[in-house]
């Protein structure tokens, strides 16, 4: 079995490694390119969202490279993403590809199916499996920690490019680390290195990044919004990190521990019901960012994404009530980098002006 899976930022090599440890050949997904999106757009329904198109394109590329099994996540709705693998499977088969699709359903209500899926592609003894999973979790956790730091330090670094380079090194080293202890040592070392980077002493503009999970997590799907903001000297806080999300949605849910539903209560006055995907979070996070003194919020919306459209309809009211500027970036195959950069610059200008008016020195 030659396994492939969706590309997702810095996490991809870690997953490749995990599958190898489980005893499989892996076809690592290439970073989504113009060709990926073109392929996806060509065969996906017109009004499918950007993530579906990118993933479909990625699968076509990896199947061409010889993969014969795809592992991806499922879901219980109401967001469409939960049905993706079925639709993608249908489309890919109609194109003549032969492969097995493994859909990892969330444990809640699908425990048996999840175990069945796991059984199908775990080829190593349980102890080894356990070890592999624990190490992988730690890797993901460190990558998240370091990326968080990177977002904070990059806008302020004196020598431009230091943080990005450190980040890439960190991912490569963490990926190479074999044992639990190694990962921890490498992780700690890089956190230390990051804290030693020389930074300017100022209070940068602060922007929260919210929206649909895939386009928030995958830089190539959002025109490297965070890096670009950082380059403009703006601190961008990403509201979603994979480890937090998995913790809340998979483990705690399965154990029936209700994770802290604070975000839900934050969204309450504006949105009184879950609408799937990250719709509710988008509202709740905006309220939270406003209350913790952020200068602005950027919402990343794949064109036709249902939960984010619901959120987008409501955001202007939140923005007005709490006095925090919100910009929605709608992403599809026709969005161009130049346009995005122009809008980012205009938004940052606006935020800087607002800060100036409120009496503080601009960033």
């Amino acid at each position: 079995m030659r396994i492939t899976f969706p590309y997702m930022g810095y996490y991809s090599p870690v997953f490749s490694n995990l599958f190898r440890k489980l005893g499989h050949d892996v076809v690592p997904p290439p970073k989504p390119s113009k060709r990926t999106l073109d392929l996806g757009t060509k065969y996906a329904p017109e009004f499918a969202c950007l993530p579906l198109k990118i993933l479909l394109g990625t699968y076509i590329e990896t199947l061409e490279m010889g993969a014969d099994a795809i592992v991806s996540s499922g879901g219980v709705g109401p967001c469409r993403a939960g049905y993706y693998t079925r639709l993608q499977e249908k489309i890919l088969r109609s194109l003549g590809y032969d492969f097995t699709m493994y859909t990892v359903e969330p444990p809640k209500g699908h425990m048996m199916q999840l175990l069945k899926t796991l059984r199908a592609f775990v080829r190593v003894p349980v102890t080894k499996l356990f070890d592999a999973i624990v190490t992988t979790c730690l890797k993901l956790w460190y990558i998240d920690e370091i990326e968080r730091l990177c977002h904070k330090i990059r806008p302020l670094e004196v020598k431009k490019g230091t943080s990005t380079r450190l980040m890439e090194q960190a991912v490569a080293e963490i990926d190479k680390a074999e044992s639990y202890g190694d990962v921890r040592d490498v992780g700690r070392a890089f956190i230390k290195k990051f804290n030693e980077v020389e930074v300017e002493d100022r209070d940068p503009l602060k922007v929260g990044i919210i929206g649909e999970i895939y386009v928030v997590l995958e830089p190539s799907a959002n025109f490297e919004v965070i890096e670009n903001l950082n380059k403009m000297g703006v601190y961008a806080h990403r509201s979603i990190f994979l480890t937090d999300w998995v913790k809340e949605n998979a483990f705690l849910d399965a154990l029936r521990i209700q994770p802290e539903k604070e975000i839900r209560s934050q969204a309450k006055p504006y949105l009184n019901h879950a609408v799937g995907g990250h719709g509710e979070n988008t509202i709740g996070e905006t309220v939270r960012y406003a209350k913790s003194g952020y200068d602005g919020v950027i919402q990343l919306v794949p064109f036709t994404c249902i939960p984010e459209i619901v959120a987008r309809s409501i955001l202007p009211r939140v923005s007005r009530d709490l006095g925090i500027p919100v910009m929605s970036l709608i992403l599809d195959e026709q969005t161009g980098l130049a346009g995005v950069l122009t809008r980012l610059e205009a938004f940052v200008d606006l935020l800087a002006r607002r800060r100036m008016q409120s009496g503080e020195l601009p960033a």
């Binding site: 499918a48 109401p78 249908k90 949105l271 019901h273 609408v275 036709t304 459209i309 959120a311 309809s313």
Partner: protein, 368 residues
């Protein structure tokens, strides 16, 4: 003075109105409906809704705003789930909030939650709570709810459809070709949004079957054809009704009417496109509408599709109908459309035609 309740004629209205209407009637409350979708209503909706919302949502917002100026409260229930554990499109889930956030002078909104996933009696409970919040006593609310639910059951439950435009022509003798027009009721049966698709096909002599012509039992019989059910109420109904029509050979062709940028339909449409081709071998046409779709373009595409179906059907029935060349028929059919309404007469003359479509009509009857 009693409260005037406004009910927007959009989205779930098309299937749930008997329930709401009867309930408010039993409570002795006055109801005002927003009436057919008009240009004015659409314009209002377009102004308040976000640009990338689907047309049905924009139109809903238009209806809601129209009512805002005329009623004391507007009834926008939060439809979460009604049948089989399926939820409604997320836009339904956030509907009251979207309206509240985007329309400025909105009167109070009644946003009772209808979520029948948790327990079967939830419908009754929700209605009773709604009645009480409108000032009725427990006993009255309860009795009204019971009566309304009973009425809704008789009316056809979720398969109900108000046909208040005009009775569907039975098209008994003129039916040559049967077309399944599948899609959400608030698209297919809103003549403004669908550009009168159903009427158009019928007046061109075709027989039309919609999702509402397929019974609940027939729809349920298709549950097994999906190894993972879709999540959404109307999408499941649409997809399964289409499967049923195709599997039982009840239609010569299938038209999927969907809204521009509709999320769930991206999935439903693609599945239909692939399955109609590879599994059922039924000609398929997808028509996407939005709030300003031109009637002309849609008409041309439907006509071309119909012509193709007629020709295809003809090719199979050549021996029976030697004297009628396909092209001649197309000619005469288009000729009739111009004198709309009188479309049936000319074709009625062709007895041969009737006989060829007898078998089909027979099958069709079982559905309708």
């Amino acid at each position: 003075m009693s409260l005037v309740i406004g009910i927007p004629k959009a989205l779930h209205y098309y299937t749930f109105i008997p329930l709401w209407e009867r309930f408010f009637y039993e409570l002795g409350l006055k109801v005002v409906e927003s009436g057919a979708t008009t240009k004015e209503i659409v314009d209002m909706g377009v102004r308040t809704a976000v640009t990338d919302a689907c047309a049905p949502i924009k139109i809903f917002q238009g209806h809601a705003e129209w009512l805002a100026q005329r009623t004391d409260v507007v009834f926008i229930p939060r439809m979460v789930s009604f049948e089989g554990g399926y939820v409604f499109c997320p836009k339904f889930l956030g509907l009251p909030d979207m309206v509240r956030a985007t329309i400025d002078k909105m009167p109070p909104i009644i946003d009772t939650v209808f979520d029948l996933r948790k327990r079967p009696a939830a419908l009754l409970r929700s209605l009773v709570r709604l009645g009480r919040s409108l000032g009725a006593g427990q006993a009255k609310a309860f009795a009204s709810a019971i009566r309304a639910i009973k009425h809704f059951k008789q009316a056809g439950w979720t398969g109900y459809l108000r046909r208040d435009s005009k009775p569907r022509p039975q098209a008994r003798s003129s039916a040559q070709v049967t077309i399944g027009v599948v899609g959400y009721p608030y698209i297919v049966h809103d003549p403004f949004l669908s550009c009168g698709m159903v009427d158009l096909l019928e007046s061109a002599g075709a027989r039309v079957l919609t999702v509402e012509d397929v019974s609940a039992k027939q729809i349920r019989s298709e549950d097994k054809s999906l190894d993972k059910q879709l999540f959404w109420h109307y999408s499941n109904r649409t997809l399964k009704a289409a499967y049923y029509l195709m599997r039982h050979n009840l239609v010569d062709g299938l038209v999927h009417a969907s809204a521009f940028s509709c999320g769930p339909d991206a999935i439903v449409g693609k599945i239909l496109e692939l399955d109609s081709k590879y599994e059922f071998d039924v000609p398929f046409l997808s028509v996407t509408v939005d709030e300003h779709s031109g009637r002309a373009g849609i008409m041309t595409r439907l006509e071309a599709f119909l012509d193709m179906l007629i020709r295809k059907k003809y090719a199979g029935a050549k021996q029976q109908l030697p004297e009628l060349a396909p092209d001649g028929l197309v000619e005469s059919r288009q000729g009739q459309r111009r004198i709309a309404g009188a479309s049936q007469t000319a074709l009625d003359g062709h007895d041969e035609f009737e006989s060829s479509s007898d078998a089909m009509r027979e099958q069709g009857r079982q559905v309708s």
